[in-house]
Amino acid sequence: MTDLLAIGTRKGLWLARSEDDRRTWTLDGPHLLAQEVAAVSIDNRRAAPRLLAGVQYGHWGPSVTWSDDLGGSWHETDSGAIRFPADTGAALGRVWQLRPDTADRPDVVWAGCEPQSLWRSTDGGCSFSLVRGLWDHPHRPTWEPGAGGGAVHTVLPDPDTRRVTVAMSTGGVYVSDDGATGWRPHNRGISAVFLPEPPEYGQCVHKVAADAGDPRRMYAQNHFGVFRTDDGGASWASIAEGLPVDFGFPIAASPTTPGTAWVVPLVADVQRVPPDGRLRVHRTRDAGASWTEVGAGLPDGSWTAVLRDAFCTDDHEATGLYVGTRDGCVYASADEGDTFSTVAEHLPDVLVVRAARLP
């Protein structure tokens, strides 16, 4: 059994492999050198696992490329996997998220993009169709871009129903219950400190993760505030008490243990660095009722940041955690965050990490 960790950076993709249950890692790369890789997925639903990457070819624009031989060769659709229809007048800015759907929907892959848009592929990511219900939503003209751009950055397909949840900066959380046709904002209870009154939508939700026990229980790291919903987003309540600060970009939930989730707190709004320069993960075992600082092996004197997709889990019974920093370091934990080891240093800014077990 091989554990594979894909590391997308501002200047290429690296792959780390572990053959000893995540104790040691071997780094391979760069792949796609000089290309920004802001989104990557490892689709191991296929006979040959597919690496799917959202890349920015520097001056030459964005695209989606894939490899079915773990980075040995890369391919892209001639006409472009993601192309805005002519009637929209829009052009793809950046691919922010590539999310394979569940195993029983084997060729379905979702993409979240800039400008704020959701896309669905039924051929494993070779080509995508614009989800018109969200693009044509009457709220869309009033969604503002966050500092990093206006994008759908989170896509959470419900494994049991046709429900799909997305989050965007800004705009907040939107939910469809009919397979991505109709969409409603689901932000009640999520703060927006940059607006005078709590809005129906327009929040700057940084990342959302679904609980292992119930997909309607979700956790959100907001632009100030950490929140939980137990009703699929209809209402949210703060779970930030016990954290040193309530700002950060990523949030991750265990895929196997209900109630377990992690955040990476950053001092904000201007600084956006770990409190006292100590890069740490905070873990809850009770769905946010309490938090514990963990992360032995993560550095002190770390005046960097962890971006929203540079933090992920794997699907081992003892959940592995992976942290990538803007100063090019990657850390891995095989014990749910208690301890970390260094996988990589001195890479370009880490934008995304994704882990999977290969057969």
């Binding site: 070819y57 001056h59 030459w60 624009g61 001639d78 192309r83 002519a86 007048g89």
Partner: protein, 93 residues
């Protein structure tokens, strides 16, 4: 009509390694030249223009040495025998 397109090294792989392409566009504008280029080299075409048809922000195009930004953009005239240079701008980090 015939037009020579000169590519930067970074794009040559998308033209089979060629730095020079001889094209026969249907019209005498930059848009027609880039349409002809995209018809034979679609990925190369996407590197130069987005799907809305606009030349990408950090791509510079010159017709016989003149920056098309000041010659009408995609409507810039491209006469028979012209040389069209595609170059990356000074950007990045």
């Amino acid at each position: 009509m015939s037009v020579e397109v000169v590519l930067p090294g970074a794009l040559a792989d998308l033209a089979g390694g060629a730095r020079h392409l001889d094209l026969r566009p249907d019209g005498g504008t930059l848009a027609a030249v880039l349409d002809a280029l995209a018809a034979t080299h679609p990925v190369l075409g996407r590197r130069i223009r987005d799907e809305a048809g606009a030349v990408r922000r950090f791509v510079n195009v010159y017709v016989d040495g003149e920056d098309v930004r000041w010659q009408g953009g995609l409507a810039a005239a491209v006469p028979d025998g012209a040389v069209v240079h595609v170059l990356p701008s000074v950007a990045g980090g």
